[in-house]
C-alpha cells in the first residue's frame, strides 16, 4: 500500500499568487494513496526541506511528490532531501506547478484545478516508482589521445602528470602537428618551435606516456571506462630500436624530389626521411609510395647497404595492437584549403600566390629559405606583398559560412614579420572585419598597422592576374566609398579557410561520435559541455572541433585532460540509472531495437541450456552505453524492453489518471 506525501510549494508569490496552494494540498489529501499533504511558502528553503524530511519519517512515506517548480530546476535538490530522510531518491517526483501552470495562466479556479490534476498525475506515477541505484562501471585508467599536435601533447602531458597512463597515436612520423610548422606565434612573436619542442621531448620521455607515431586508430569498441582500441602501426621499414638517427640514409637516398609535407610543398624531401630536424622521434621512416625499392621490386636498397646499424627492414608489415583504455581524447586538428580552391585567384596556377601555412614556412628559420622571405617562382625578395583574409571563409557561395577565427591574427603577424625582414617592402592586408578578440590581440593588430605601417584595406579582392611578372590584385576599398583598388604585388598570401581533416568523417564513424555540417567533430553542448562529445568518455580538444589558435587549443586540451582525470579519480563510474533494460523471458530476439539505438548499446545475448547449447538469442542492453532515450522501448512489439523512470506502468498511469471521469463513464 502506497503512502505518498504531497508537498505543495507557494514559491513565495510565484505559485501562490495564481494557484490556491492550500486548496491543492487539501484536494491532494483525497487522492488515493496519499497519506500526507501540506503546502508551504518555500519548499526548497532549509525549513521547507526539513518539513519534507520530517514528514517522510513521521508518516512512513513510500513516495514523495513535490509540487513546485520545474523538475529541470530542483529535481536533484528534492531527491537529495528524500535520500537524506532515508527514502530512495528515485521515489521522489516533482509536479511542475510554476513553469507549466502558475506562470502561464491567470488566477482562476481552473488554474488551481489544473495544479491539482498535475499533482494527481505525479501521485499516480510515483506510486509505481521503484527504488533505483546508481550504476557502477569499472574504469580502466588509461587514456587514448588521438593526434600529436599541440592539443594532443598538452592533453597527454596533463593526464600523465596527474598520474595516469596515456597512449598517444600520431599518424605522421613525428608529433608536433601544425604548430611545429609555424614560424613565430602571435601575439608575442616567440618562436613556435622553441616553445613546442621541449614539450614534444617531454612526451617522448614521460614514463606514463606510450607514443605510437606513424600509427592510426583502426577501430574503437566498448563504452566509457571500458574502451578497446585497435591501433594500426604502419610499417616504418626502419627498426627504431636499432636506428641511431644518424641521417646517412636520408642524405644518400637517390629519390629527392618528393614535395615536402612539413614545408607545405615548398621544399622537397627524400623517400626515407625525418620530417624535420627536431622531430620526435628523430628517426626516419620509408615512404613506400615513393621509394624505388617498393615501387620497382627491390631495386635500389641503397639505404640498407649504407646503414651503419643495419636498421633498415624492408620486410616490416603493418601491425595491429589492441589496447584497453578508459577514455579517449580526439585531438586530430584541422586542415586548410589550398590555393587551387580559388577560381578568381587563378586556381593555383600562379606560383607566387601561397597559403598562410606556406608563408609560415618561408618565415621560419627552419624553412626552405632559412627564414628569408623569398617568393617561390624565382626566389626574389618580394617588395610588395598582399595578404588576403577570409579566403573562402565567411563565404556561403564557397560552402564555408563560418569564420576560420585564426586568419586575422596570423595575417597581421605575417605582415609584421615581413616588415621586420624586408624593411623597404610594402605590405597590404585586405580584410572584411578584423576579428582580434583575445588577450592583447587587438593591440597586436594595431601594432602591425601603426608601428609597422601595414596597409589595411577593408574590402574584398575580386581577382588576381599576372601581368608583366607582377600579380595584379584587384579589389575594392569599402572605407573609401567602394573605390576600386589595384595593387601590383610580387607575392600574395591567402588566409585560406580552416577546414576539417579529410579523414574526420571516417574517424567519427569509428568513434561513433557526431560531426557538424562542415565535418568538424560535434561537442556535447556548445556552451556548457564544449570538450565532451555526445558519446560518454570521448573528449575533444583543439582544432578538430573548430579552427582555433594555440591558447584556445591548449586551454581546451587542459579542459579535456581534467575531464579525463576526474573520470580516472574513481575506481568505479557512477551513472544515472534511468536506462532501459530487457525482459529476457519475453524477448524474441528480432533485434529491431539494435538498429534504432544511437549508442550501439544493445547486444546479442545467448541463452544457453545446461549442456552449453544455445537455446535462443535475446537482446541485452549495456548499462554503460545506454543513455536512456527509450526509442527501443517504444519500438519493442512484445514490450520486452522497459526503462527506469519512464516505465510502461508509470506513463500509463500518468495518462490514465488524467480526465478519467469520461473513461469511467464509458468503460
Amino acid at each position: 500500500m502506497s503512502r505518498i506525501g504531497v508537498f505543495v510549494c507557494h514559491c513565495g508569490e510565484n505559485i501562490g499568487a495564481t494557484v490556491d496552494c492550500a486548496e491543492v494540498a487539501k484536494m491532494a489529501k483525497d487522492f488515493p494513496g496519499v497519506a500526507f499533504s501540506i503546502d508551504y511558502k518555500y519548499m526548497c528553503s532549509d525549513p521547507g526541506q526539513t518539513l519534507i524530511k520530517e514528514a517522510i519519517k513521521e508518516h512512513n512515506l513510500t513516495g514523495v511528490v513535490v509540487a513546485a517548480c520545474s523538475p529541470r530546476m530542483h529535481e536533484p535538490t528534492f531527491r537529495k532531501v528524500a535520500a537524506e530522510a532515508g527514502l530512495n531518491p528515485y521515489l521522489c517526483e516533482m509536479a511542475n506547478l510554476r513553469e507549466h501552470c502558475s506562470w502561464v495562466h491567470y488566477k482562476d479556479k481552473s488554474t488551481t484545478l489544473k495544479a491539482a490534476e498535475l499533482v494527481r498525475m505525479l501521485v499516480e506515477k510515483v506510486k509505481l516508482n521503484t527504488p533505483l541505484y546508481p550504476i557502477k562501471v569499472p574504469v580502466t585508467k588509461t587514456a587514448l589521445v588521438i593526434g600529436g599536435g599541440i592539443a594532443g601533447i598538452q592533453t597527454a602531458l596533463d593526464i600523465a602528470n596527474s598520474g595516469h597512463k596515456v597512449i598517444m597515436v600520431e599518424k605522421s612520423p613525428s608529433i608536433g602537428g601544425h604548430m611545429s610548422q609555424l614560424s613565430e606565434t602571435f601575439p608575442t612573436l616567440d618562436c613556435s618551435q622553441c616553445i613546442l619542442t621541449p614539450r614534444m621531448v617531454e612526451v617522448a620521455q614521460h614514463p606514463n606516456i606510450t607514443l605510437y607515431t606513424y600509427a592510426e586508430l583502426e577501430s574503437l569498441d566498448g563504452f566509457i571506462g571500458n574502451f578497446k582500441a585497435t591501433i594500426k602501426l604502419k610499417a616504418k621499414s626502419v627498426d627504431h630500436s636499432v636506428c641511431n638517427g644518424c641521417g646517412e640514409c636520408s642524405a644518400k637516398c637517390p629519390i629527392k624530389k618528393i614535395p615536402d609535407e612539413f614545408n607545405a610543398g615548398l621544399g622537397t624531401r627524400p623517400a626515407i626521411y625525418v620530417p624535420f630536424p627536431q622531430a620526435v622521434p628523430n628517426k626516419p621512416v620509408i615512404d613506400r609510395d615513393n621509394c624505388t625499392y617498393f615501387r620497382k621490386n627491390g631495386k635500389c636498397g641503397l639505404c640498407e647497404k649504407i646503414c651503419p646499424t643495419k636498421a633498415i627492414d624492408f620486410s616490416q608489415k603493418d601491425e595491429f595492437i589492441t589496447v584497453d583504455v578508459g577514455a579517449v581524447v580526439v585531438t586530430t586538428g584541422f586542415d586548410i584549403k589550398g590555393t587551387d580552391f580559388f577560381p578568381e585567384y587563378g586556381y593555383g596556377k600562379y606560383k607566387d600566390i601561397i597559403t598562410g601555412l606556406q608563408f609560415e614556412r618561408l618565415a621560419s628559420a627552419s624553412g626552405p629559405t632559412l627564414g628569408e622571405i623569398r617568393r617561390p617562382s624565382d626566389g626574389k625578395i618580394p617588395q610588395n606583398i598582399v595578404f588576403i583574409s577570409c579566403a573562402g571563409s565567411r563565404d556561403p557561395a564557397k560552402g564555408i559560412d563560418y569564420c576560420s577565427k585564426i586568419c586575422c591574427m596570423y595575417l597581421a603577424k605575417h605582415a609584421m614579420l615581413y616588415k621586420h625582414k624586408v624593411h623597404s617592402g610594402k605590405a597590404s592586408v585586405f580584410y572584411m572585419d578584423i576579428r582580434a578578440g583575445g588577450k592583447t590581440y587587438e593591440e597586436f593588430v594595431r601594432r602591425a598597422i601603426e608601428e609597422d605601417e601595414v596597409n589595411y584595406v577593408r574590402g574584398r579582392v575580386s581577382r588576381i592576374y599576372e601581368k608583366d611578372g607582377k600579380l595584379i590584385v584587384k579589389g575594392v576599398d569599402t572605407l573609401l566609398n567602394s573605390y576600386p583598388v589595384e595593387i601590383e604585388a610580387d607575392m600574395v598570401v591567402l588566409g585560406t579557410a580552416g577546414i576539417a581533416n579529410p579523414e574526420s568523417e571516417s574517424l567519427a564513424q569509428k568513434l561513433h561520435i557526431s560531426y557538424d555540417q562542415y565535418h568538424f567533430f560535434a561537442e556535447a553542448h556548445p556552451k556548457l559541455r564544449p570538450v565532451e562529445t555526445n558519446t560518454a568518455g570521448i573528449m575533444l580538444a583543439g582544432a578538430c572541433q573548430f579552427p582555433k589558435d594555440i591558447p584556445d587549443s591548449v586551454s581546451q586540451a587542459s579542459g579535456a585532460a581534467s575531464k579525463v582525470s576526474a573520470l580516472f579519480s574513481q575506481n568505479e563510474l557512477t551513472r544515472d540509472p534511468l536506462i532501459a533494460f530487457v525482459n529476457k523471458n519475453t524477448c524474441v530476439g528480432c533485434f529491431m531495437c539494435q538498429s534504432v539505438c544511437p549508442y550501439l548499446a544493445i547486444e546479442k545475448e545467448k541463452i544457453k541450456a545446461k549442456d552449453g547449447s544455445v537455446i535462443r538469442e535475446v537482446a541485452k542492453i549495456n548499462p554503460g552505453l545506454c543513455q536512456g532515450c527509450g526509442t527501443c522501448v517504444a519500438l519493442c512489439r512484445s514490450k520486452s524492453i522497459d526503462i527506469n523512470g519512464y516505465s510502461h506502468k508509470q506513463v500509463y498511469a500518468e495518462v490514465m489518471s488524467l480526465f478519467n471521469e469520461r473513461s469511467l463513464e464509458y468503460v
Partner: protein, 267 residues
C-alpha cells in the same frame, strides 16, 4: 506432382529433414497443412492451385521447432515471410530446407536465403488492383462514414486471435494483448478493445507484413483485415519505398529513417 513428392521423400529418407511441412487433402476435401515425418507418408502430399495457405507460420510453432531440421514447401508468400523471419533473426542457420515450385512446375531447393532474395526479386507479386480500389473507395468517403464502416466491421470481432495464430510474423512468445500490467488492450468484449487490438497489430506489422492476407481468410467473423494489411503495405512503399520480405538484412521502415523524411504534417 511426382517430382515434388520424390524430392520430399528423398529429403526425409536421407535425414536431411526430420519433418516436412506441405499440404494434403483433408477428409472433407479441403486442403490443409501436412506434416510428414516419414517418406511413406508423402503419397498424401497435395500440390495445386488450392494450396494457398502460407505455411511459413509453422516454422516458429513449438511443435515444429522441436524437430532439429525442418523442410517446408513455400509458395511466394511463404518465401517472403521466411525471408522476413530470417532477417528478424528468427530462423537459425541450417534449420530449414526450403522448397518451392516455380511457374514452370520445376522444383527448386534453395541453398540459402540469398538465393531466396534473388528469387523473390525476380518473382514480384502483382498488386491486386481490386483491393486497392476498395481502399480508395473507403478513402474517398467522409471521415465519419469511414468511421462508421470500421465500427461496424470491428464490432463483430470476437478476439479469437485467429488472425494472430495464422500470421507468420506474429511470433512473440508473449503478445502485448496478453499483458495486464498495464492493460494495454481492453479485455471486455466491447469495440474499444477491438480497435486497440487491430490498430496495435497493424502498427506491429507495419513494414513487416508481407500481405499474404491469411488473417483475412481465417477470420471467422469475415472482418476485411486485408484492407488494413494492403493499406499499410502500400503506405510503407509510398512513404518510405520499403517493402517487407525482400531482403536478408534488417532494414525496414520503422527501424530506419531518412533525415529528409516528409514532415509537412509537423508544426
Amino acid at each position: 506432382m511426382q517430382e515434388l513428392n520424390n524430392k520430399i521423400a528423398e529429403l526425409l529418407t536421407n535425414n536431411l529433414v526430420s519433418i516436412f511441412i506441405s499440404y494434403k487433402k483433408g477428409l472433407n476435401g479441403k486442403i490443409k497443412p501436412a506434416f510428414f515425418t516419414k517418406p511413406n507418408e508423402v503419397y498424401e502430399n497435395y500440390f495445386g492451385d488450392e494450396a494457398q495457405q502460407n505455411l511459413a507460420v509453422y516454422v516458429h510453432k513449438p511443435e515444429v521447432k522441436k524437430y532439429s531440421k525442418v523442410g517446408i514447401l513455400a509458395n511466394i508468400f511463404a518465401l517472403k515471410a521466411l525471408l522476413q523471419l530470417y532477417a528478424e533473426n528468427q530462423i537459425k542457420d541450417n534449420y530449414l530446407t526450403i522448397v518451392t515450385v516455380n511457374q514452370d512446375n520445376k522444383v527448386i531447393v534453395f541453398a540459402d536465403f540469398n538465393e531466396i532474395e534473388s528469387y523473390i526479386a525476380q518473382h514480384q507479386i502483382e498488386k491486386n488492383t481490386n483491393k486497392q480500389k476498395e481502399i480508395n473507395e473507403l478513402l474517398s468517403l467522409s471521415r465519419e462514414k469511414r468511421w462508421e464502416f470500421w465500427v461496424e466491421q470491428l464490432s463483430s470481432c470476437i478476439k479469437c486471435y485467429a488472425c494472430r495464430a495464422i500470421c507468420p510474423m506474429c511470433y512473440c512468445s508473449k503478445c502485448t494483448v496478453e499483458l495486464n500490467q498495464p492493460q494495454w488492450i481492453s479485455v471486455p468484449a466491447h469495440s474499444l478493445g477491438n480497435f486497440e487490438w487491430h490498430i496495435m497489430r497493424m502498427m506491429h506489422l507495419a513494414c513487416r507484413c508481407i500481405n499474404c492476407q491469411e488473417c483475412s481468410r481465417v477470420c471467422p467473423m469475415n472482418i476485411p483485415l486485408h484492407l488494413l494489411t494492403t493499406k499499410i503495405n502500400s503506405d510503407m512503399e509510398e512513404e518510405f519505398g520499403q517493402i517487407a520480405g525482400m531482403k536478408t538484412t534488417l532494414d525496414f521502415a520503422l527501424n530506419t529513417f531518412k533525415v529528409d523524411d516528409y514532415e509537412n504534417f509537423i508544426r
